[in-house]
């Protein structure tokens, strides 16, 4: 597929509903996602986030509006090209397995794309190592625990090296370390392979690491911007039913108790720095 512009994904006035007599899931949604960046799409359950993911690789097609992947419009004719570019990992790994062993499962996508055997073995090893599942090569996927299954599902998608990777709440079942490993892995790959990463999530700690955040509410874009801008409007974020980072909330509480802190920290380091600056100044 030709890369015709710098936007990995573009939604132009997209509206979608499952049936004519049903309510709109997305109503006139427009946004642009820059290539090679991490973008978080957040919103409460039922806000239309997952529908966006399915529209991005043509699993669903919009009723109105246009969707472009690197400038190529997503439509019936382009679907197979699009799907080579847009890898997707869903929330429930049980619906994503085809192989009888972990190894076969990762191999499946590669075989479909006619990757030579030697390359296949190398990629299977690499991706399974990256998700910490190399010791399970010959295990049966259905016997793995939820988190392990999800790591294999991520490996299977990564193995075919898509240019856009969508994680649709894909880390929601992992334990804290598993989640951290996956996030580090996908960030590493994003930088190495120029991957555009789209994270659909309500994990606040995943959002603060994103370059850009799109907040969905009732099928519309509610706010968008960098994590700093988003979380500076505490009330707005809470209204949408989302958490703000613990340290941001704590800083706001400190301010309410008379401490004039300089900024809204998003990470522990930023909180400590802000407190330190305050301490030196007063």
């Amino acid at each position: 597929m030709k890369y015709m512009n710098n936007y990995a994904v573009e939604f132009n006035n997209v509206s979608f509903r499952y049936h004519e007599d049903e309510p709109w899931i997305l109503k006139d949604v427009s946004f642009k996602i820059e290539a090679n960046k991490t973008t978080a799409i957040i919103g409460h359950n039922g806000s239309g986030k997952s529908t966006i993911a399915k529209l991005m690789n043509g699993l669903l097609l919009p009723e109105h509006g246009q969707i472009y992947i690197y400038g190529t419009r997503v439509e019936e004719e382009s679907i197979w090209d699009i799907r080579r570019e847009v890898g997707m990992v869903f929330q429930n790994p049980d619906n994503q397995f085809v192989g009888t062993t972990v190894k076969d499962d990762v191999a499946f996508g590669l075989e479909n794309r006619g990757i030579p055997r030697l390359d296949m073995q190398k990629r299977i090893d690499e991706t399974l190592k990256a998700v910490g599942m190399i010791d399970y090569l010959l295990h049966e996927p259905y016997r793995l625990s939820g988190g392990q299954k999800q790591r294999v599902a991520i490996a299977s998608v990564m193995a075919i090296t898509p240019s856009i990777l969508i994680l649709d709440e894909a880390t929601s079942m992992l334990d804290p370390l598993g989640r951290k490993e996956i996030l580090e892995t996908v960030q590493h790959l994003r930088k190495k392979d120029n991957l555009s990463l789209i994270m659909i999530s309500h994990e606040v700690n995943e959002m603060i690491k994103a370059d850009y955040v799109i907040v969905m509410e009732d099928g519309k874009v509610s706010i968008e911007g960098t994590p700093k801008t988003i979380f500076s409007s505490e009330d707005r974020v809470k209204e949408v039913g989302l958490d703000i980072p613990l340290v941001t909330e704590f800083a706001l509480s400190l301010k309410r108790h008379g401490m004039e802190l300089e900024s809204n920290p998003l990470t522990h380091e930023e909180l400590l720095e802000t407190l330190w600056t305050y301490h030196l100044k007063t």
């Binding site: 359950n45 793995l144 079942m173 992992l174 598993g178 989302l242 108790h257």
Partner: protein
Amino acid sequence: MDISFENVDYIYQPNSPFQFQALKNLSFEIKSGEFVAIVGHTGSGKSTVIQHLNGLLRPTHGKTKIGDFTLTSDHKPKDMKSLREQVGIVFQYPEHQLFEETVEKDISFGPANFGVATEQIKERVKTSIEAVGISTDLLNRSPFELSGGQMRRVAIAGVLAVEPKVLVLDEPTAGLDPKGRKEIMNMFYRLHKEKGLTTILVTHHMEDALKFSDKVIVLEKGTKYLEGSVQEVFSNQARLNKVQLDIPEILTVVKEINNRFGLSIDYQGQSLDELAVQVSVGLKGLKKHE
């Protein structure tokens, strides 16, 4: 119901190439009425423990006691049905198990299966759907027309309608947004108190373990790694980190502030505002000494 595991081993597919020992010499006790969190990372044996709690699995070696029921590899209680009636399990993503035409039929399925009289079932359906915060107007709807959050609540109502004495929750809030997560956890805690249940919460959310449980059991590779009160377990940050678990974020924040400024604030479940006052007072105190 008192629950105990005594030196439990569990081996999946023994004597086959797939042989895998999921539990090793695991012993612990849970007292009737306790709220216990079981934490551990992926593959630590949590799911295998859950399946022992209602006799879906029996130990390969050792013994499990669930109330009056004793299970070993060669002893299966005659009345397994009664055991399963008393131990309700909310599995991960319970909404995937919905199958009936209407919400009412789905919730009725459990109690009907355990031979509860029709009139009583009606009563229980009503009580349990109210307990999960869903309007009785939805009783005649197909469960598949509901939102994900509503479907989960209906599935939970189905477990509650059996009126178990022990409630086992396997990551009950996975996939829910923060608001839904808080609502569901508060609901379980309320039921735990109101009905005097014994509740076992299997979770990765250290925050939930901190907030709700009387006791925490940490599993690692099928063995018991740590056990104790919330304070005891979470004071072992180094040991938890060693098995790739972390302490609740609020404890980390307090610790980092203490280290950076030489304060000694003790976290005892106070609110963020209360902590803010302590930090503010602490920093002012430092100034005076300089």
